[in-house]
Symmetry: C2
Subunit: 442 residues, 2 copies
């Protein structure tokens, strides 16, 4: 077989058991997003390059599309390309359909995006993102900043892959703090970049870098870093913030907004899903203007943030002359799933969606078995009749078991139904299919 | 705004109310496919051109992808392109992962495909297909041919857009019939092409064409056409087949297989979902080798088949040296949805997934309202708290109503909850949230 008859490198696909697990994650996301009223919305995979290239530096990663590939049309210039994220198409969508939308507009999107990067572990050329955003017209209340955090907490708890921590910060708070240490203009940007690397280079080196960049004394740099290099549990945020006295208006504003968000999000934190204030998080410097979020899996911090976002001043200024502030958060689904596979955070034992296999004591039972299958399907069991009634029943059981199917049902010739739990290896015979259903449901 | 800041032509996207309707259709498909044990499976959007170009004549429709669009790389040749259907990638998948799969292998796929065609009404450059296939190793029992028909009947009934008809035929049956009228080799192919056009050119013209192509007398052409230009209800298939006496082995085989399929599919037909034998259906001449299917919406036959498929001798011979017969059927989801929109076969009145809006008599109720929202979400209601508690409650009701939200719940300051059904304009006050839930569920 030609090498080219494989899936291209960087374009991942799942085996059935993996796909079932990934679909379960998507189902949790879709459900929780909808529970909070984030309406699912799809945009095309393809946009004009002009739409995609607004964010200049990402342009080189964009895949352009050309008609009639490989047929002497290589010189045709692409004016369209594959989307590299879900936010730019969403901004274009809101601009294009503004008059048909009602604000605040809450939308979710679970979709694939494409980047022409060199593929590496956990990084793909085609991958899923799972976003929610809420967009206001002119203003957007702060309670949505708290809401997106609650949504993510509920999604990750629903996926059930262990404990995690959602890190919150506020750009105005961090910038206000830095201003207090003399960081303004370019110096501010430099300081944010230095702080962003603290997990990589360590406290000591960061302190030195801050001394150089901001012209601080060793003591000042140390006290700045000590103030921000910590994770404050949600219940301690109030006392942490009270400890910071200031007259800097930016810092005041940041503190006030953090207080409001913390108060609203407080009840949302759980044992498994912790929420902390992490004052050193900056994120996309050009984009975010208020609250910012990152999320790490406890004990697996080395993988970085699996879910990030924040508040932005304007979604769609490139596309429409309206003020549309928003807040959003994006789960890197494919990245998260690659961590789940690598760290074996889920079992991958179901090779089929089928819950129940109906075994046959002979092909002549097929029509009757089809009728039983219909009843089981109506009772919400994914049901198959065994492909081959001429196989021995023991072989049929083995087939079902190997595929990870939970139950096998057999129609007894003398009446009644035998049902076997293939995991627990228990079996019972009942005189009605309703009792079989009850057995399988309990 | 630049023209290029719109979605590109032929790449459709939905407004929220349309998206909710399309998602409901996808949910029905996903559910029914799973009920029958067809495991959802995804392959990448992108394949090597070598993989895609096996079906030679479709090559010119393929969109190739190029990295770094519009940056002096136009001369780069694409070796990868966007898939134009779900079958070719599935064949490549089965070839690549053969050793990890268990046969018969049942899979479903609801995914987008891309074709570089000129867009026209109901035809898109990016569109959804929704396929199921079951693949056997060396052999595949005939009962799967009946099953895929049952699945499609249940899906279309679940979508609930009116009556429809599934047309069944068998290639061996039709070819055997034509052989009886002297059609062999090239003549057979010509005759199939002539018959395929009968709905367009009419009975009379087809009769003339058959006389010319097969060198038949007027009488013979007439009797052949009379035999096949009819739709035989599932309950009459047996008597129709018995009326055709033959010693032609191909025809005998076709009759026998049609009988078996008809017997298994008989119970599946309903008032709304009719199943008929339509002996003039041929479909993909190079591909299908046994049963074939088409589906039309009653009264909307002008749109052609919205769901087609059949039995094929070998899925993946280009990719693996194994005999893998299969049977499959594909619903043209985007095409179907464009008919639904055009013919208004569904209401498009829900602009949000939200079921319940909690109204606020003031912002100070927000924290309490968040707690109520949590309870409602746990009871499976998609719930929002109104964005702005400073708005008058009448305005809040109006907001909810305009979005197509079903219920509004208000927390009374003196205790208790008022719930209003926004469609029926009924309201009641209860002393517990459980009673509100009961009210909304009934």
């Amino acid at each position: 077989m030609s090498d080219k008859l494989h899936a291209p490198s960087g374009f991942p696909e799942n085996l059935p058991a993996e796909q079932i697990a990934e679909d379960r994650i998507k189902d949790v996301m879709r459900k929780v997003y909808s529970r909070y009223g984030y309406t699912p919305l799809e945009t095309p995979a393809v946009e004009y390059i002009d739409t995609l290239s607004g964010a200049g530096e990402i342009k080189k990663e964009v895949y352009g599309i050309n008609r009639a590939a490989g047929e002497g049309t290589e010189n045709q210039e692409s004016d369209r390309g594959l989307r590299f994220d879900l936010t730019v198409p969403f901004a274009r969508y809101v601009g294009e359909h503004f008059n048909d939308l009602r604000f605040p507009f809450k939308r979710s999107a679970i979709g694939k995006v494409w980047r022409g990067e060199r593929p590496q572990k956990g990084r793909f050329r085609e991958f899923y993102q799972a976003d929610i955003d809420v967009i206001g017209q002119d203003t957007l209340p702060l309670h949505y900043d708290a809401e997106v955090v609650s949504v993510v907490r509920e999604v990750l708890e629903g996926i059930d892959i262990g404990a995690f921590t959602i890190h919150i910060n506020h750009r105005k708070f961090l910038q206000g703090l830095l201003q207090g240490f003399g960081a303004e203009g370019d110096k501010l940007t430099d300081a944010l970049r230095v702080i962003d690397k603290i997990d990589k280079v360590g406290f000591k080196q960061t302190q030195t870098d801050l001394q150089v960049q901001l012209g601080l004394s060793e003591e000042a740099a140390h006290s700045l870093l000590t103030l921000i290099d910590k994770k404050i549990p949600i219940s301690d945020i109030e006392s942490y913030l009270s400890g910071i006295e200031t007259t800097n208006p930016l810092l005041e504003e940041g503190k006030a907004e953090l207080r409001t968000i913390a108060a609203l999000v407080k009840d949302s934190a759980t044992e498994k899903g912790k929420i902390v204030l992490n004052p050193k998080i900056a994120r996309g410097l050009d984009y975010y203007t208020g609250s910012v979020y990152e999320t790490t899996l406890d004990g697996l911090e080395k993988y970085g943030s699996i879910c990030s976002g924040g508040r932005y001043a304007d979604l769609a200024s490139r596309f429409i002359n309206k003020s549309l502030p928003g807040v959003g958060i994006s789960i890197g689904l494919s990245r998260l799933f690659s961590i789940i596979k690598q760290e074996k955070l889920m079992p991958f034992n179901k090779q089929t969606v089928t819950d129940v296999m109906i075994g046959l004591f002979g092909e002549e039972q097929r029509a009757v078995a089809n009728g039983v299958a219909r009843v089981l399907r109506e009772a919400n069991f994914n049901t198959e009749v065994h492909p081959d009634g001429n196989k021995k029943i023991g072989k049929q059981l083995e087939d079902a078991s190997k595929r990870g199917i939970g139950h096998m049902v057999m129609i007894e010739s003398e009446g009644g139904y035998t049902v076997k739990n293939l995991e627990k290896r228990q079996q019972e015979t009942f005189d009605s299919i309703d009792k079989v259903i009850h057995f399988m449901n309990h």
